[in-house]
Symmetry: C2
Subunit: 207 residues, 2 copies
DNA sequence: TTATTAACCGACCGGTCAGTCGGTCGGTAG
DNA sequence: CTACCGACCGACTGACCGGTCGGTTAATAA
């Protein structure tokens, strides 16, 4: 996801191996519970070797995360700039997301989980990268939808976060068990977001 | 929220003070970043005193959380068993939640934030208490709504989680800034959940 | 072959923190 | 007054972990 093969030097290959090992471990456990030793061992280097390539545990984490988010941003940009209605474009974006391998999908949860433990410039960069990768892109589509009258007026940012939140529900464990099919999960999200859970009545009033 | 005054012995009073201090600190920082020393100092006892009342940091955390969730469960049960349509009962439950002081509202986020760091029986108890306090109650109302035709058919559990997720969006920082009024936040959630974001068209079709 | 340098090793250091333990103190029962 | 006990104290321990550093190895250039 990071770099076309080209000429990976030995150094680059090792660094990539370390990042990959770190990704796998960080997805499975808290930042604090993943030790540099564990990462090093999983990447088949020693702690010294790890610190030859990365200045700190934090920098390794940030590097890993930024690389991944950049890839996701590129992926979702395709959906945003694709033709069709907001419904169709959101559908494509969400499908692309749901079809990602589990490990890569989980990474977007990490940002929310671990963001509190950083501060300063690094934190800002992480937040910005996440927002650019996901909410901002969803927001762009929603903004178009409101402009074109396909969506009811409303704050596009809140709506985009709501949409992301609904997507996160269907990738949770229980939903995954109940709705086995990826295409059905997609429908569940879009249906709820566009139409709501209320029964469509002839007069459009609830309660 | 915990106990009517009755006859708090000195021991109970100290334990309660420790729990209160722990709550405040845990809301503000990660489990790992809150030290037992900090809690003790904030509760005006020493670490030794703290460990006289609680067997471990984990047990203190669990005790604090279970006590709070039990209180919330009692609060929300009132909304569930109140009269009216599903819309009205969900409205009441959500209003009760949104009107909670920030610290108590934030606690429900902690469960999701910190659940990964526990395991075994304690973890199960925590998960169960959270589900009983929030999603299960929302689910009960939604189940009634589907039965009575007020809501479109669907898996009530996924719908309840979706609803909770939408509520969490409007208590987030940005939404809080955009929608200053608590009653408007409530409307935002209910509107989106019952009606969706799509513009209501004469023919009911989207895309 | 030799010199140079990047890659890598792993023992070690400094600091942190959960949890312990011997002891003090104030209340209270006998 | 004495014996006892629960509440509480705070110095200390043991384990862990991020990060360092002097040294080794292997590739490459001269």
């Amino acid at each position: 996801m990071q770099q076309l093969a080209e000429h990976p030097t030995k150094s680059e290959a090792t660094a990539a191996r370390i990042v990959a090992a770190a990704r796998k471990l960080f997805v499975g456990s808290n930042y604090a519970d993943v030790t540099t030793d564990m990462i090093a061992r999983a990447a088949d280097v020693t702690k010294g070797g790890l610190y030859h390539h990365f200045a700190s545990k934090e920098q390794l984490y940030i590097t890993m995360m930024l690389g991944d988010l950049a890839g996701k941003q590129r992926l979702f940009e395709q959906a945003v700039s694709s033709p069709g209605s907001s419904y169709e474009r959101l559908s494509r974006l969400t499908r692309d997301f749901l079809d990602l391998p589990e490990e890569e999908r989980e990474l977007t949860r990490l940002v929310r989980r671990d963001i509190n433990i950083f501060s300063g410039e690094d934190r800002e960069r992480l937040v910005r990268a996440y927002q650019q990768a996901l909410p901002v892109q969803v927001e762009a589509i929603i903004r178009d939808g409101i402009r074109d009258g396909e969506l009811a007026p409303g704050d596009p940012r809140i709506l985009s976060w709501s949409f992301v939140a609904l997507v996160e529900v269907v990738i949770g464990g229980y939903a995954h068990a109940v709705i086995g099919n990826s295409e059905d999960r997609l429908r569940q999200v879009l249906e709820l977001f566009f139409r709501g859970a209320g029964r469509q009545t002839t007069d459009g009033d609830v309660a």
